[in-house]
Amino acid sequence: MAHTHSSADHNIHDSHLHGDGEFSHPAPLSMLFTIFGILVLLTLLTVYQSTLNLGDMEIWLSLFIATIKAALVILFFMHMLWDKPFNAILFISTLIFVALFLGFTLLDAHAYKDTIEPRDTLKESLPPALADSVK
């Protein structure tokens, strides 16, 4: 059965063509190669942009390019566009949790000083009510 199908299935984009119990959607080769080409181009682009002196923008630009690449991999190579929505919900909610995790941790990152200040300086910087408690 599968064998007779396979010959007919060769060049199809049959994401909505469900035969009886047919659930495989062979990805067209043209799509796979196009995505691969774009991914390689974006890799070259990110290598090129690292040679420019962009200062603080650099990290954001390289992360932006990486995110486009990651999205292409997820949507096309991992076939998420044609997947059950529940799997997509799982993945996207994970990204939200990752964002919360990174966001809240980084909020706190610069809340500490790596030097200990002399007590007198500390006393001056505190409101009078608290300053009395520092001996």
Partner: protein, 368 residues
Amino acid sequence: MTATTHESHGTGHDDHGHEHDHPAWLAHHFDDAEQQFDSGKLGMWLFLVTEVLFFSGMFCAYALLRSLNPEVFSYCSAFLNEKLGAINTGVLLFSSLTMAWAVRAAQLSQHRLLVALLGATLGCAAMFLGVKTVEYSHKWDLGLLPGMLYQAQVSHPEHHAIPTALPYLQAPGVVLLVGFALYWLWALMKRNDFHLQIAGPLAVAAACYVGGAFLGLKLEESAEHAETAAHATHDHSDHADHASEGTAVAGATDATALPVGSERENLLIPQQSHADQVAVEKGIEEVESPSVNQRGRAGVFFSIYYCMTGIHAIHILAGMGVIAWLIVKAARREFHSKYFGPVDNVGLYWHLVDFIWIYLFPLLYLIK
């Protein structure tokens, strides 16, 4: 276990007429092939989600360390060979392509093509690791080690044509190559098509591991040549510059400004950390101005570097294991349009490993 029995094994599955009420590839607790496939895929996605969360812990550590020590990261990233990183990115992307294609081949029952594509994926994975062995062993020679093991860099380090640890890292690959080549010859002599289909890709993958090391060595060498050439021409003027720049940097308000010149030379100029600079600006006296190039400073970068790339490499190894398992199943002609779940799910895992590397490459190699 001859090729003919495998043939009948594979095609017989779809025949619902035989004595079992379900084909061998459909577990009896599933209603139909689609339910089986969807359950497997949901399970795989759940696993991948935990993988993303697991790696996010390391990305979080990276973000914290980098935001607290920006100068350490820009200093150390220059020791990573961008060219090798870019080539490895390309190799992984290509392996993702062959893996996605393999899923298609499994769905279309293109058995021989499926074995070839899985073999290509395995070969790319091996090449990735082969290049990594050069990167790692080269760093170990320079003392670019994690945490307190880090050794400060000297301006003219001892040069090894072949990094000391490389033969040890490559030895398993060579042993496997010999083993798989013998296996292949044996299968060839026996004219056993099934074993030939397995032995071929495995031998090629082992060869790719060793080949990756040669490729890595070649590129590492060319990078060094370019550098020594740069040294030769700029040596004098550079050294003259250094004295003045050293003081200039110490006095400059912009601590991140790097003097021009060859990259490695720049690395050896002690840079003041941002924190120290702020301290100086605030008028706090007697602050040491430690170079980034020392134990406990640069080591921070190499700790997170080895942690992230090392755990990523372990994932590659695990992926290679399951791909080898798939090659055996594919050589048995087990996959068809109703049963390709294992290929699809391993594919998902493999793409996730690629996904992680897509972020690791710019975050580790391309910092300026």
